[in-house]
């Protein structure tokens, strides 16, 4: 418990440092002005969400191969945390888009594939709530999670493969793309607290799922007795 509190305090300090860097260290963009500073929050949220979904995918594959409940617990924890980061991404994006594009939302490839990704993982969690039997629930959701992950490369590649309203990639975007070196350093630094927050949330959620597993076990013993 004490370890958890120390971890949470470190994450809060890192988040504060990232906000400071985003507001005071990164230079103001000559075209967009101050509003572009949202990218220091929006991009790390989006990337961290994708990392969490990758963890979910790896855990789902591991569950299908090994049938160990711990992989199921990790899978659901990563899916839920990924969904939280994707929600933050989907909320902060339109706040940036309205002053820059003049609209909150448009159905371009990046935005649509991200919205679909969000819906897929909501479905993953809903599917789990519909199946009572733990082994069946774990297997069905693992298979669905593997299917849902197909959208992650589509989200990543959408701004590279198709012309979109969404800005072109600033990292790994090929020739002609990129950011001012200070902006890039701040952006990478802002990703660190998000990853730390992802680990913290995933740990808490995993403990919850492990406890739920214990509860199911005790309940079954009580029923058998």
């Amino acid at each position: 418990m004490k370890k958890q509190a120390v971890g949470a305090a470190i994450v809060v300090l890192l988040l504060a440092a990232a906000a400071y860097a985003a507001f005071f260290i990164a230079p103001t963009d000559s075209k967009q002005g101050v509003i572009y500073r949202i990218i220091f929050l929006h991009v790390p949220c989006a990337e961290t969400g994708l990392v969490a979904f990758f963890v979910c995918f790896a855990a789902n594959v591991a569950y299908v191969l090994k049938r160990n409940a711990k992989w199921d617990w990790l899978g659901v924890s990563a899916a839920e945390v990924g969904l939280v980061f994707t929600t933050a991404c989907l909320v902060t994006g339109p706040i940036w888009a309205k002053p820059v594009w003049g609209i909150w939302w448009t159905w371009d490839a990046r935005l649509t594939s991200t919205a679909v990704l969000w819906l897929l993982y909501v479905s993953y969690l809903m599917l789990r709530s519909l199946v009572e039997e733990p082994e069946r629930r774990a297997l069905l959701s693992a298979l669905f999670g593997i299917f849902a992950f197909i959208d992650v490369p589509l989200v990543f590649g959408s701004i590279r493969w198709w012309r979109t309203q969404h800005p072109q990639p600033v990292i790994m975007g090929g020739p002609g793309s990129g950011l001012d070196p200070t902006m890039l350093r701040v952006l990478l630094f802002c990703w660190v607290p998000m990853l730390a927050l992802m680990v913290l949330l995933m740990q808490s959620r995993y403990r919850l799922e492990a406890m739920r597993g214990d509860l199911e076990l005790v309940r079954r013993e009580a029923e058998a007795a």
């Binding site: 002005g33 509003i35 929050l41 909320v91 902060t92 002053p99 919850l208 406890m211 009580a222």
Partner: protein, 57 residues
């Protein structure tokens, strides 16, 4: 400093989402812990009662 309010709003909303989720997980864990304790007690109680009865014989 045009649009500074929008930047603050984005930060506030995102942090609120993370905070609410963290609190939700903590509350769910607390509720589950209580359930688990209650269930463990109900499972062990009949055993204790029969053990006491055996000791009495």
């Amino acid at each position: 400093m045009k649009n500074l309010n929008s930047v603050f709003a984005a930060y506030l909303v995102a942090w609120a989402i993370f905070f609410v989720y963290y609190v939700t997980v903590a509350r769910r864990a607390a509720a589950l812990r209580e359930d688990l304790e209650r269930l463990k007690e109900s499972v062990t109680r009949p055993v204790d009662a029969s053990a006491a009865a055996n000791r009495g014989k």
